[in-house]
């Protein structure tokens, strides 16, 4: 069973509403990734962190998406103004930095 904890499992928002999801990485894993898996099972990399620092993020996240991984608190991914196209499974993964990613159960976002 995954030791990456994601909450909530399900999130329902109206268009324009804020959506926030959280992730607690596996203990001892300094690297955290966020991916979006759409209904066609395509994975889109969003952002990753090493400790609290952003390693890389795609352009999309710089507009409506924001993410952080503060020390001693869960990591979070927030969508400021949800759109229908944001409906997807959001996956958090953590790694010791040795390339193997371990995924959480995901947060399924539905934007009505």
């Amino acid at each position: 069973n995954s030791k990456v904890i994601q909450t909530p499992r399900y999130l329902v928002k109206g268009q324009g509403q804020k959506a926030k999801m959280r992730c607690i990485p596996e203990k001892g894993h300094p690297v955290v990734f966020w991916y979006q898996q759409n209904k066609n099972n395509e994975f889109k990399f969003l952002i990753n962190f090493q400790n609290q620092e952003v390693l890389q993020q795609i352009d999309m996240t710089e507009k409506r998406f924001s993410a952080e991984c503060p020390s001693n608190s869960p990591c979070s991914l927030e969508i400021q103004s949800s759109e229908a196209g944001d409906s997807a499974l959001y996956l958090c993964a953590s790694s010791r930095g040795q390339n193997t990613l371990y995924f959480g159960a995901g947060t399924r976002l539905s934007v009505l």
Binding site: S2, N41, N48, Q56, L91, F103, G104
Partner: protein, 114 residues
């Protein structure tokens, strides 16, 4: 550009048969390759990886994969298949350029009939 291709969207076979899920990749350097499995309604579970060394790597749940540099493939195998292996399987490549993010293939949905 780096990419992963899984040419078979669906594979169906009977329990007890041998399974082989195909994966090919495009990468300019030595690849780090992975297989993950996703059961319905669940997240991705790590099966195995190839970093270096022996071309055949063994993973969890009785799976193994063979790295073939000659044709840029990393096919997943198991014999015999069991009905509980029914799931979606994803092959992935690590982008080693700084961020170490995974690049996934489109996935292969495996159905094993009992």
């Amino acid at each position: 550009a780096q990419s992963v291709d899984q040419p078979d969207a669906h594979v169906t076979l009977y329990e007890g048969a041998s399974l082989e899920l195909r994966c090919s990749y495009s990468y300019s350097a030595a690849p780090y390759l992975f297989w993950y499995v996703q059961y319905p309604g669940q997240s991705l579970q790590f099966l195995l990886k190839y970093i270096t060394g022996d071309a055949v790597v063994k993973g969890t749940k009785g799976f193994e994969a063979e790295f073939r540099k000659s044709n840029s493939s990393f096919n997943l195998k198991k014999s015999p298949a069991h009905w509980s292996d029914s799931a979606k399987y994803f092959c992935a490549l690590v982008n080693q350029g700084g961020s170490a993010k995974l690049i996934f293939g489109e996935g292969t949905k495996l159905t094993v009939s009992s």
